[in-house]
Symmetry: C3
Subunit: 314 residues, 3 copies
């Protein structure tokens, strides 16, 4: 509890938030991945955040992601206050601003994880908070902890994060996961991104402009590029971001990973997906050793332990 | 974390699930009831599952049953990740399969409790899971932990589980509680079941055929049989399983336990109900010492501690 | 677990509930505020309720208040079972009585916090419960823990609880917070209440009659009284208690605290608000040192720790 305005300002200035990939320079990415590995191998102390309290505020529901963060906090020895459906259950329904809600909740807990349907909501929350804030997805904005667990998976399975040819496939306009992942991959040298999407769902210019020297191919066809990839990163068409069911149906099923596609994918390559999937990967593919998506989701536990441990060290 | 497919297969083969009464032979029922008694008497170590994580996934809401499992896990020293409204809050709303959801959540926790509106959903979850799964009710299928706490209550209050004449009353077609209870009672010798229901709500043939040598009477009239019973097990007409309000209203109020009914019930007998009740038992009956339903629900804590402790020992 | 009816009756008679301000005589208020201060200063043992279980039952959603109680329970070393949306998720939807639900949940936990849309629901719950019950708001009835944290804030910032001139502003008919606060302030000598509301939203006679010798001014105009106050307690017009949107709109925005109003408020005075606010306080006022509402909400943690600690000592 900061006692004076000056102390409060000092404390706020040193808080560690994770709201966008901007906060993740290469050295910090590597530090977090190493910390995650320590947790997976049991080398780091699992109970080091004993007695600390996390609030998970989900203004957009997601049992999976919420559980991943909450399991991570419990494995760190902490406890959790959980809002499964923060929109309906909170004062937001009465017209309260997000900033007021965050200031109040900051008084009760040691860190806040927020998912929100609006781009930039997590950054706004971080501005208002007096404790660290972690973005668990802000609309079609970013999802930095997902990108971290993706890198963790790639490094663990392929042994490196540079000199990779990575195909990002599907709804690149609305997919916050691939938006964050593209930026994090651009922190490492000699990576090539192959952006595979229908014309209407191309990766946003804000991301393309921030990729720096990373090589980028854009295409509408998946088949011809599969054989050139180290990582085939498939995504779900984000139905909830379309204005009409018709607009969604136009894109659904454009790219499906089938056993045929897998025959083209190199032997050493990975098939990844942030999950949930709704038909974009044929379940027949699940038993292929290159199908990494269930291992990937499991890695979310270690990556999120690392992120929570880091912000709680503010 | 199994490292190879073979190890994963071995681990999966030895997992202890509880999805239907089929998994409960007599010796295991008795072992679980003894374990529950140990918890109630404070003889078993209450903190023996310290640090373990349980996920409660309720695709059909039930604060009562969820709390019963969660209290049991906390009393065992464990922690809980809770999905109060898994349908709306999860990727199920986006079209994800139950199997995918369970595989993902298996990566975060040590056991899963699931309630689901579809018959067989818990068994499907157990197939997909890499951790133990406990069925907290699957539509009009089964509710094995409720049946265990019912047996626990009967044994505690009447001193035995055989040579009992038990009346199961009400909606026997849709009541998963009585379906499971009938099967568990048939594991013990010389029990007699009196199945009291309107013609349209009779116990399903799948259960009747599995009862083996247990004597079964079927009737539509409650009054004449009350005086012959050791246990009068009243149930709620399952409004949510009917297609129309009219169909429900036809059956509602057919059987109501009143002080008059209680005058016919033998002095040593028990009146039980899985709760919630909606008019099937007159509250005037609550103060009758034979009215066991609030003691029964309390026993759920010990029975579920025993079940969770057993599956966590996989 | 009481074993006999007599023991149960004895235990019930000595349970400590907090459902209305009636249960809070002056000496107990002071004891609870001292206990809260001990927690804030770290003088009281934060882990003294280790292993105890609290159920939070919110039949009316409120993430903020729920989190405040749950954080308090965790800081005391306890654990929480949480029902974010008890109406939809519970047997209430199936027609079960509140009394039955409370009796059942009493069997699982050591204390119950309840919020409910009906006046008197918490008192009814306390009658049915076999564990302590704390009222977290019962419709337009009472909100005693909010009133306690308000007193805690006033005592901490102004140094006393008597000889105060306190303006309660806004929807005094439906605002349970100000109803409870008025009663608690009347326990201390020489306080003066200035009740500022539109004619249709005046403080209820039940409260006015219970204020005893406390001086009361009633007015419809805020501006003329501001300069006379030690505490300006602003509240939200309770939209959810009005029958129509038109009725609500008639009152919304009648009283807004602006920088102009603050110029009239004495230098030593406090501006308080139970939050959430929806336009009744201009955010420009937030940086004024007299704006105490975020400090006030933070004090809820200590006040609720004190209340939970007290009831758990039953």
């Amino acid at each position: 509890m900061p006692e004076t305005l000056a102390a409060a300002a000092r404390a706020a200035a040193t808080l560690r938030h994770l709201t966008t990939p901007v906060e993740l320079p290469r050295h910090l990415i590597e530090e977090l991945l190493d910390r995650a590995l320590g947790f997976e191998l049991g080398e780091a102390d699992l109970q080091r955040r004993d007695g600390r309290l996390l609030a998970t505020l989900f203004y957009e529901p997601s049992t999976r992601t919420r559980f991943s963060f909450e399991a991570a906090m419990h494995r760190l020895g902490g406890q959790v206050l959980s809002a499964e459906n923060a929109v309906k259950a909170s004062s937001a329904a009465k017209g309260e601003s997000l900033e007021d809600a965050i200031r109040v909740i900051s008084g009760y807990v040691d860190a806040i994880v927020i998912r929100h349907p609006e781009i930039g909501a997590a950054a706004r929350a971080a501005q208002a908070a007096t404790v660290p804030v972690v973005n668990a997805g802000d609309g079609a904005g970013h999802h930095p902890t997902q990108a971290l667990l993706d890198l963790y998976t790639i490094r663990k399975e392929l042994g490196r994060l540079d000199r990779l040819r990575v195909g990002l496939v599907g709804d690149l306009r609305n997919g916050r996961t691939v938006r964050s992942l593209a930026l994090l991959l651009s922190r490492f040298p000699q990576n090539e991104l192959v952006l595979v999407s229908p014309p209407g769902l191309r990766m946003g210019d804000d991301i393309l402009e921030a990729l720096g020297e990373t090589a980028v191919d854009q295409t509408g066809e998946l088949d011809p590029v599969v054989c050139t990839l180290d990582v085939l990163y498939q995504t779900r068409i984000q139905a909830e971001r379309f204005e009409s069911a018709e607009a969604y149906e136009r894109y659904r099923g454009v790219y499906v990973v089938t056993p045929d596609i897998m025959r083209c994918l190199p032997e050493h390559a990975l098939l990844m997906h942030p999950l949930p999937r709704v038909g974009e990967i044929d379940p027949q593919v699940d038993s292929d050793p290159r199908a990494a998506y269930f291992r990937q989701t499991r890695n979310g536990l270690w990556a999120r332990m690392a992120v929570l441990d880091w912000v709680l060290g503010s």
